[in-house]
């Protein structure tokens, strides 16, 4: 396991009886990255997070978090975690919940007051710090959960669907908090099915489906143009057939879409079209949105 990696897993698998929750997860998250972990409901995202924390035990595979074995006390000392099912002691106030987590996280007592004050201000709960959690709305509880995850200035923050209960203002706040964490050099593992959220804040993304990573890379790598649209005239049937070796063709004379083409081969495609007697008026790279890429991957 490399020291520059915050998370590294190899063939990490989890089965519940005959049900496969995670089927061989292999991924690497570099220190300081904001890493998006995308997938549809039931893809195994939360299971993966629980395995990283040791809240569930792996069936097979290996992994390390912050250079320590999965679920080890040493790793958990440096991790902040917002669960998907966020729930905190309803009989305590927010300040008390945060103090409890300061204590469990081993934060020096002299630092508690400042730490708690900063966190409350960051998540926007400073004016409700002494109210009982039981009186909080769901969104406020999720803000508190985010605050709990920030306690102790962890090296790695695991956020499992961190905006599921938040309004647009809250979602914006969370994005700002994540950007702030990145500036501090904190690694953020963002588990989400909200593609726009991931697209806006993540450096790298893994797309998971049915317990497996189906695509992984930086957003640029995942979304770079891999299709071109040609405005073309005089393309014969034979000429069109000759272009099929560049990718999946859609359309024909007039407008032709070529999917799955290596961007390096576009000039060659144009040359072949001209050689076949066609006139090419324009060549437009087609960029996919993360949503289109996501849906295409899951449709495969």
């Amino acid at each position: 396991m490399s020291g520059s990696l915050a998370i590294e897993t190899r063939d990490l698998a989890k089965r519940y009886g005959s049900v496969v929750a995670l089927a061989g997860l292999t991924m690497s998250v570099r220190v300081g990255q904001v890493y998006g972990f995308l997938g549809p409901n039931g893809a195994g995202k939360t299971t993966a997070v629980k395995l990283l924390l040791g809240l569930a035990t792996r069936t097979s595979g290996t992994g390390a978090v912050l250079g320590e074995p999965l679920g080890s006390r040493g790793a958990r000392r440096r991790i902040g975690y917002l669960p998907e099912l966020f729930r905190y002691q309803p009989w305590l106030g927010a300040r008390e919940v945060l103090a409890l987590h300061c204590e469990l996280a081993g934060v020096e007592r002299a630092r508690w007051e400042r730490e708690i004050g900063d966190v409350l201000a960051t998540v926007g709960l400073a004016d409700r710090a002494t109210s009982r959690v039981g009186t909080y709305s769901k969104g406020m509880q999720q803000r508190l959960g985010l605050g709990v995850a920030l306690i102790g200035r962890p090296a790695l923050v695991l956020l499992d669907e961190p905006t599921s209960a938040l309004d647009p203002v809250g979602r914006h706040d969370v994005r700002e908090i994540i950007r702030g964490l990145r500036q501090l050099g904190t690694t953020v593992f963002l588990n989400s099915h909200l593609l726009t959220e991931v697209e806006q804040v993540c450096d790298s993304v893994a797309i998971i489906d049915r317990g497996r990573v189906v695509a992984e890379g930086t957003l640029d790598e995942l979304l770079r143009a891999n299709a071109v649209r040609l405005r073309i005239a005089g393309l014969t049937r034979e000429g069109r057939a000759a272009l099929a070796r560049y990718g999946e063709l859609d359309g024909g004379d007039g407008e032709l879409l070529v999917r799955g083409i290596d961007p390096e081969r576009v000039p060659e495609l144009v040359a072949d079209a001209v050689r076949a007697g066609a006139r090419v008026y324009s060549v437009e790279p087609q960029h996919e949105s993360l949503e289109e890429r996501f849906l295409r991957l899951l449709g495969q």
Binding site: T57, R73, R76, Q89, W91, L100, L104, G106
Partner: protein, 285 residues
């Protein structure tokens, strides 16, 4: 120490959720009623004459055993229903997710829960028991012969039930664990009577069945110790005249439990607590 933090949170929850208030308020009502009842013993007449002091003492001691039986049942029921959801409710609600993601071992979490519950039991049990005994002494002048041992035996019963319910809480929903713990303590009580009946009729098979239940769940064995602690020597001597038949009475004990049984009870608690830790270590949350 993470265990002490978890234990403190048990006490804070009991206080914030008004469990302590409810227990104290109801206990004070019960103490007031029973003390009033004890105060009326001096007014009892037979043939127009007050009862002789020996008879008054005997009645007071027997009534105190009945009241304390109710007290021990209240302790056991409260212990079962407070301990049974102590872990399962946090797992079901999701509260445990954020807690167990912290650098705290599962063993520390379970041990902390147990310590908090036992501290709650001790605080309530000693407080309520001492107030009841002092109040009875104030109105009747009667003090049981072994009050400290009595409290220790009742707290031991509570600790056994807390440990059982907590172990069940690592796997079962709170309501299920509570019901199982209460029924188990009822079976153990019946087992104690069965043992007494076996002894009274010199039937070894029945006696062994009863003994086995006292070993499987040592609540009734400890209850017999509590009864013995409350009996004046004259009452023990009186029952002894009844011969082996007295053994069938669940409110009488001629002798305290042997030391080996007390050692067994402590080992039982340690063993079931270890089982709870083992069970929760393997539990996925």
């Amino acid at each position: 120490m993470p265990s002490l933090v978890v234990a403190r949170e048990i006490l804070r929850e009991a206080s914030r959720r008004k469990l302590l208030f409810a227990l104290v308020a109801l206990t004070l009502v019960v103490i007031a009623l029973t003390v009033w009842g004890f105060s009326r013993i001096a007014d009892l007449r037979t043939g127009g004459q007050p009862l002789p002091p020996v008879q008054q003492t005997a009645i007071t001691s027997q009534l105190l055993i009945l009241v304390m039986f109710m007290f021990s049942q209240a302790v056991m029921l409260s212990s079962a229903f407070v301990a049974a959801p102590a872990i399962s409710a946090e797992v079901e609600s999701g509260i445990s997710l954020a807690l167990l993601a912290r650098p705290i071992a599962r063993a520390e979490y379970v041990l902390g829960k147990w310590l908090g519950l036992v501290a709650l039991l001790a605080g309530y049990g000693i407080g309520a028991g001492v107030v009841e005994l002092l109040a009875v002494r104030a109105v009747t002048g009667y003090a049981p012969p072994h009050p400290i041992e009595f409290l220790a035996f009742v707290l031991g019963e509570g600790a056994v039930i807390i440990t059982l319910a907590l172990a069940l809480s690592t796997r079962l929903a709170g309501i299920v664990g509570g019901v199982v713990a209460v029924i188990a303590s009822g079976i153990a009580w019946i087992g104690g009577i069965v043992e007494g009946v076996g002894t009274a009729f010199a039937n070894d098979t029945i006696t062994h069945v009863g003994t086995a239940t006292k070993l499987i769940l040592p609540t009734d064995g400890l209850w017999r110790g509590a009864v013995w602690s409350l009996e004046p020597a004259a009452v023990i001597a009186g029952f002894a005249n009844a011969g082996p038949a007295a053994a069938g009475n669940p409110f009488f004990a001629a002798t305290p439990p042997p030391s080996a049984y007390l050692v067994w009870s402590v080992a039982w608690i340690a063993g079931v607590l270890a089982l709870a830790v083992w069970s929760f270590r393997a539990r996925e949350v």
